[in-house]
Amino acid sequence: MAKTLRVRFQPPLVLTLLILGFFVFIPMISAFEYSIRTPLTGGYGWTHYIWAIREDDFFHYILRSMWLAGVTVTITLFVLVPTLTWLHLSRSKVRGLIDGLSLLPLVIPVVAFAVGAQISFPEFVQNTVLELPFLYFVLALPYAYRSLDIGLNSIPLKTITEAARSAGANWWRTITAVIVPVIRGSVMATIALTFALSLGEYTLTVLLHWDTFPTWVTFVAQDNILGAIAISMMSLIIPFLILTVITLFVPERSMQGRK
């Protein structure tokens, strides 16, 4: 009991919760409260939510955005897990350089990025919506890279890789059957970060003239602001539910073990 109280009143924890509460939870709760208002009756109701679901384009755009986010996650994992594994194992001096490069998307303005893409990408790339996942991958790179980097740093990577290889696992099996399950927490965080960032990306998408869920919400908001907020609330819940399902679906084989 005493231990619980001590944890509860940790000043840094209280400060974090205060900041989160003030800048995240209060605005979200306010937005939710606003979205269930019915101005005609002066009460509360689900009118705007029902309206949003009945909108023809709602499912079209949310599915499209989720599909693009899924492709982005796949690209991220396929590119970053082997690359980072190699960087960690080779102890190459290139690692410092790549570490630095991975941060560049944070400092390059998205506008410059979009204009650059439009100028340099060949037309056949610009004609397909699949250019978006590759660009989202770059935008998510600083977060995804760091998340996986921390995971790989926290395990005896060289030993378990060599143990897997000497037991007969090729590189593919070593990564999929050993490394990824061992750094499962980092991989899940990478999936969540990349998925959320791709799902909510607006600026780049608009500048490249593509329509996704966030651009559609902005369009809808012009006529029905309460409906747009209702849609946004749902767009928050849907990926949250999906990530929860993924977490539950992948069996927990944590280092803490079973009881």
């Binding site: 395990i155 005896p156 030993t159 378990i160 060599e162 143990a163 897997a164 290889r165 000497s166 037991a167 007969g168 696992a169 090729n170 099996r173 070593t174 059957a177 050993v178 399950p181 061992v182 499962r184 084989r253 944590s254 280092m255 803490q256 073990g257 079973r258």
Partner: protein, 346 residues
């Protein structure tokens, strides 16, 4: 039995300016346990990693049953390996760890779990099969690693200092267990260690390495009694280096003449290399040739450290029963018990 012979022919490997292996040759017979012993940085682990395919040699060939496997990737070499650091997969249970190699070989789940249980039974851990690796002690983890390395019936078993992270008592028990398993399964084994006692205790032959070169490879007793070089003599067991004078193949030590086994200089000053158990210390009332500095009682035997008149420190190992009167400071007479001694140049 799937065990095969192992041959390393003219292997060289450099890391930057360091010559880890220099024209290294080694043969391990079917079912034999050979230890590579040497100080840190002598190249013993590099040799093992070249055999495993985890390092690629700059020159030379690795042969298993006379088949060149130099360019075969690590995962296709069919060699079981136990590492110095704990290397179990933390996301898998004990039995899943042991069955891992069989899973990679696409053996059915039923068969691989059956095999895993057999191996866990052999290392005395069958009751722990559902546990996760962090729930095991260091010794248990290395036992599981050994079971994992043997489960897919490897052609060669490679042990990379598997005992060095363990407590003294666990080390002794586990090394005996490794030997017992290796003999019962007949697996050709290459065992790397820096601990000479470990190497001598369980190996058929021990190879002593220094600076990337195999100085001598022989049975433990030949290595101990007839070391081929001054380095081997100093590295294996305790060796007194006593300044002496050689002429006509005879060395004069403590006032008596003994046959010199290996001749460095034909005449003049040399070092006589003598094991502690080959020196006797006797208390004397007259003026002896040394004084006792310390006497350490170790049960059946005692270790006597003496200092000769010229200041040389000499160590002797005697049965405790005969050392009762050897008190520190007492005058003693040292004598060489063997009729022949090794000599090395000063």
């Amino acid at each position: 039995m799937s065990s095969k012979s192992l041959t390393l022919r003219n292997i060289s490997k450099r890391f930057g300016n360091v010559n880890a292996l220099d024209n290294f040759n080694l043969e391990v017979g079917v079912g034999e346990l050979v230890a590579l012993l040497g100080p840190s940085g002598c190249g013993k682990t590099t040799a093992l990693r070249v055999v495993a395919g985890l390092e690629h040699q700059d020159a030379g060939t690795v042969l298993v049953a006379d088949k060149n496997i130099s360019d075969v990737p690590a995962h296709k070499r069919n060699m079981g390996m136990v590492f110095q650091a704990y290397s179990l997969f933390p996301n898998l249970t004990v039995e899943e760890n042991v069955a891992f190699g069989l899973q990679m070989r696409k053996v059915s789940k039923h068969l691989r779990l059956k095999k895993a249980h057999e191996l866990l039974d052999l290392v005395g851990l069958d009751s722990q099969n559902k546990r996760f690796t962090h729930q095991l002690s260091g010794g248990q983890q290395q036992r599981v690693a050994l079971a994992r390395a043997l489960a897919f019936e490897p052609e060669i078993l490679l042990l990379d200092e598997p005992l060095s992270a363990l407590d003294a008592q666990v080390r002794v028990n586990l090394r005996e267990e490794i030997r017992r398993l290796q003999l019962s399964l007949g697996t050709t084994t290459l065992f790397v260690t820096h601990d000479q006692e470990e190497a001598m205790a369980i190996s058929d032959r021990v190879g002593v390495m220094n600076n990337g070169v195999l100085e001598q490879i022989d049975t433990p007793d030949v290595l101990y009694n007839k070391p081929a070089s001054s380095f081997v003599a100093g590295f294996v067991g305790t060796m007194n280096r006593i300044p002496a004078h050689i002429s006509d193949g005879m060395v004069e030590i403590f006032g008596s003449k003994v046959v010199a086994l290996k001749r460095g200089n034909e005449t003049g000053k040399v070092h006589a290399l003598i094991r502690p158990e080959s020196i006797s210390v006797a208390a004397t009332t007259a003026q002896g040739n040394a004084k006792v500095l310390t006497r350490s009682f170790m049960g059946a035997s005692s270790n006597i450290i003496c200092q000769t008149e010229d200041g040389t420190i000499v160590q002797s190992l005697m049965t405790s029963a005969s050392t009762g009167d050897l008190l520190p400071g007492s005058s003693v007479q040292l004598r060489v018990l063997s009729s022949e001694v090794l000599v090395a140049n000063v």
